[in-house]
Symmetry: C2
């Protein structure tokens, strides 16, 4: 998705902020699914570590940052991937993760309170 | 909260976007609780109806918009209120709801991908 397409989505259409127009059932189902992926403290921390990484991050870098087992971390990463928030690639022994900013921008725009200037359109 | 205070929060401090810095456990717990409140399609639609209302909205206006019982709607509204996203007041027969934009701004800023200019600070 190009930056221009994101900009168009953010200013209206399928991604008009909920402070501007009520969501229909399909929009609410899609949004709720993404919020559900972020509704666990471990997943939200994982998301923030991946999103703030410079490019991508190896799963090995999560070691010691969480008081849960490796398989539990893997489960949470899978939920984030299914929600379209991150993607990954296996290279040799390790799996590398990176964030998909378009999804966070979409959900952030959904919640945004438009600036006063935007309301004049 | 003044617009200036919101602006300060959005640009850093407790609300630095997760794309800039990893959340600590307390921030993740608070954020996850708000996302959990928004992780149900009915609650997300209720939130959008309240947030897009001009000022406040009577619970009587939700009638017929959802295929669930009144008590179920009341339950979902209570969850939104406990998450700090809406507030309400009873006046006579009806309860009136309004959104608390600061909370949506906080959670939106948490997810935001900063504009390139913001990264130069």
């Amino acid at each position: 998705m190009s930056k221009q397409e994101i900009s168009i989505q953010r200013s209206g259409g399928c991604c008009a902020p909920i402070s501007v127009s009520a969501l229909d059932e399909a929009q609410a189902a899609e949004g709720a699914a993404v919020f559900k992926a972020l509704s666990d403290p471990i997943r939200l921390r994982l998301m923030s570590i991946i999103a703030s990484a410079d490019g991508e991050i190896c799963v090995c870098d999560f070691t010691g940052q969480f008081d849960v087992s490796g398989p539990t971390i893997s489960h949470h990463l899978r939920v984030l991937r299914q929600a379209g928030l991150v993607d990954c690639e296996r290279r040799g022994t390790w799996v590398y993760y990176w964030s998909l900013p378009e999804r966070m921008q979409w959900i952030s725009a959904l919640l945004s309170i438009p600036e006063p200037a935007a309301l004049t359109h």
